[in-house]
Amino acid sequence: MYHWIPFWPDTAAVNAVVVNNLYIAELGLSAVIMVTVLAMMLTYCVRYRSNGTASRGHRLERTWHFEIAWTVATLGVFLIVFVWGAQVYAWLYEPPPADEEVYVVGKQWMWKVEHPGGQREIDALHVPVGKTIRVVMGSEDVIHSFFIPAFRVKHDVVPGTLETVWFKADKTGVFRLECTQFCGLQHATMQGEIDVMSGADYARWLTSQGVHESLAEQGADLFRAHGCSGCHGQNSTVHAPSLTGLYGTMVHLQDGSVRLADEAYLRDCILNPRSFTVAGFPPVMPDFAGQLGEDEVIKLIAYIKSLGSKQESLR
């Protein structure tokens, strides 16, 4: 390849292949439309130039059936493209069961990554090839956008909630990680690397990080330090919902609604518990908004998830 003039980005994930196909189809459609318009325009411009001798008689007068035919044809083609795009979109934003999970916190101007084993990285993400990776993302300040061009994966990271994307890399190598939502002065440098490794390399990398505590263990420390265990612990006398096996279940709330206990729900419960009083429990939990950083919340969530989940039974 002419490396100095790149035309096509790396394609290194199953997500990317699917998006590529759609993109190529649309490029073809665009080319057909452009060439049609250009050919018609050039033909008419040459043939009917002011000193041309072509006949000007019998112009198209009753035009409505041309217009209707043209309209219906374009609408039909557009609808096909729409359905295709919507299907892929729903697939892209509906995470399948994950082999691995990582947590990412966006912060002016870096990506902080935490692996479940407690390994931490900044502006870098090591993942194994051929595994479905689920990325749970939060923001500490402004809206960022998590973008891996080689995977065609992007999602905004909005403060105040947790977002999820997934990908399955199918090629080892180093790819770009970007922020595509302008986030302040050094937005342009809020970039990193995705290092896709073979399974063995990845396992070696994980152990070489010199980590003593997994994310869930760190969460357990926080769980005790902030007094959560006083009410939610095994031997507590306070009437509080048990967290064991909570993740992935449907929770009935006081106001009659039902929520799936996913990461975003757990985050909301920790930070703003009174809006999420579980049916049958008194609303006594203090709210932790302002006391916990996004990465601490993520550790707590990792701990709660480690208490067992009903994921298997849901599928």
Partner: protein
Amino acid sequence: MTIGPNIDARHATALPFVIAWIVILVLAGISAWTAFLAIGIWAPVVQFGIAAIQTALLFILFMRLKGSPSLKWIFAGSGFFWLLFLYGLSMTDYSNRQGWPPTQISSQPPRQGDIGGD
């Protein structure tokens, strides 16, 4: 299509306006009364329904839409019509966005794929 200054019979009497004024105030009384009843979601429904009726009275009588050409009717309605776009289409997002509203009012459990769980 010239519409002259409205010198005609409907200006001669103040009676319709006084009646409309009384109706608006009575409706306002009902509206305020519902606020003190424990009827939950129906209170705002009744209140804003009454506000709509009062608005119609003000627009048609006090602002003299009655007897005006359709052009003014169209413009009088189009502001509200355009607001429907804002309210309706925004609600397609807010009614089933992941994690919004934080306390979900519908008792419909969200679809699994929508939440991104498991």
